[in-house]
């Protein structure tokens, strides 16, 4: 038990140092724009298809399943706004972040882990190249900026899925459906949900990079780093979501 607790404290301390180093390195010249854009492209490409499919299905299924209940109360006309609100405030950000945690955090963990094991990170260091700046800063920034973009994309795809689901039994034009959605959306529905996605992205990148960068020697550690990155990043998504819900409730 003591050893377990000690390990938790050591890990927390290392993680904090790793995070602080990110902010120190972030403001040091020169920024690796090429690597950053390459990482942004990789994050987008790796997850776009999955997010399209899951986003569409989320909207479609929510509409189909909510319809009978709303019909009972004669509130079928609320369906577009209800589905879109659920998607924008909660479901699309969390599902997108979980997909990114699975695809991106594990990818970063495995890539950096294998670079560590095969001494590629050491090779950068002895070549006077700052591996933290080149590998870690660019990846964390890429996930921080790309996850919110992917969430917005998932929102639109989900709402479109909702439109298709609505038209299975009902009839409404796409323009009217989106008008219904936008009519009931408020500033407070969008902003807190949007802000939390930056934190999702930041922690996905941070945890993936931390696990990979600190992989111990041996090929088995690459798998362990990838696995731990997925578990920790997914857990962090739920914790951030809970904190965001509490803070939104408190301040708005």
């Amino acid at each position: 038990m003591t050893v377990y607790l000690k390990n938790i404290f050591i890990e927390s301390g290392n993680m904090t140092q790793f995070t602080l180093r990110f902010f120190r390195e972030l403001f040091k010249p020169s920024f690796q724009w090429r690597e950053f854009s390459r990482q942004c492209f990789a994050v987008g490409c790796k997850t776009l298809a999955l997010i399209t499919i899951t986003g569409f299905i989320m909207g479609l299924v929510m509409t189909i399943q909510s319809r009978p209940t709303l019909l009972k109360f004669g509130a079928e006309s609320w369906l577009p706004s209800m589905v879109s609100l659920s998607l924008i405030r909660e479901i699309a950000p969390v599902i997108t972040a979980l997909i990114c945690a699975g695809k991106i955090a594990s990818g970063i963990g495995a890539e950096l882990g294998s670079m560590k094991v095969t001494e590629q990170i050491d090779a950068m260091e002895v070549s006077a190249i700052n591996p933290y700046k080149y590998l870690v800063v660019t990846r964390i920034l890429a996930t921080t900026f790309m996850v919110p973009i992917l969430v917005i994309y998932a929102d639109f795809i989900g709402i479109y899925g909702g439109y298709i689901g609505y038209n299975i039994h009902g009839s409404m034009t796409l323009f009217r459906y989106f008008s219904e959605v936008l009519e009931h959306l408020e500033f407070l529905d969008l902003v807190p949900a949007f802000i939390k996605t930056f934190f999702f992205g930041f922690f996905i990148g941070l945890i993936g990079s931390y696990k990979g960068f600190n992989a111990s020697s041996g090929t088995a550690s690459v798998g362990i780093a990838a696995n731990e990155a997925v578990v920790a990043a997914s857990l962090s998504v739920f914790i951030i979501d809970m904190l965001a819900a509490q803070l939104t409730d408190l301040f708005f």
Partner: protein
Amino acid sequence: MEAQPIIAIKNLYKSFGENKILKGISLTVNKGEDLVILGRSGSGKSVTIKCLVGLLGSDKGKIEIFGTEITKLKDDELNKIRARIGFMFQNGALYDSMSVRQNLTFTLKHHIRNLTEEAIKTEIMEALESVGLEEAIDKMPSELSGGMKKRIALARAIIIKPEIILYDEPTSGLDTITSREISELILSVQKKYKTSSIIITHDMACAKMTGNRILILKDGLINAEGTYDSLEKSKDEWVRSFFI
């Protein structure tokens, strides 16, 4: 006139937890000298050169490179020293997401800013020519054999025109013929670029061919020192066992 040491290690200690790897080793490498370090696995050979470039911190002792004590240098200052040192890793450590050209360009661009594309191309071709692998320029590391990877790793080390090159087991995992080719390559690089070097190896043929002087590590200490011929005739049976 006394030879000028380009590397000087004084009483270096390094341990990992309870495991004491280096127990106070001292050595010097003079300008233009090629020092071979021999020793059994786990004797601290690789740890020594990793401490030299700051990949591992030492517990105690001094390391001077180009007359500068490096153990307490900040990252930026240490990088200025590192920029004058080439390092060839045991398995090459080529960046596997980059082609050979990109591996060399990446290293070169970080050392010398504002190089024109033409100048980069010339430098890359010169480095590849030195290791005899011009045709591999657009290959990925996964497409290269073990020997080719080591040659490209050497090209990456020499592209920055280092004054010192550290070789971590340059011939390990290679067949006899390829090992000899790599040893000959090291020798030609030493002559062409007039580098000083430390070569960590188990390969006695490589040690004989590439080193002016040999150190043998045993249990974290220097057990024997001398030329290949003098150590081969050593009275110490343990030392002679390396030469059988």
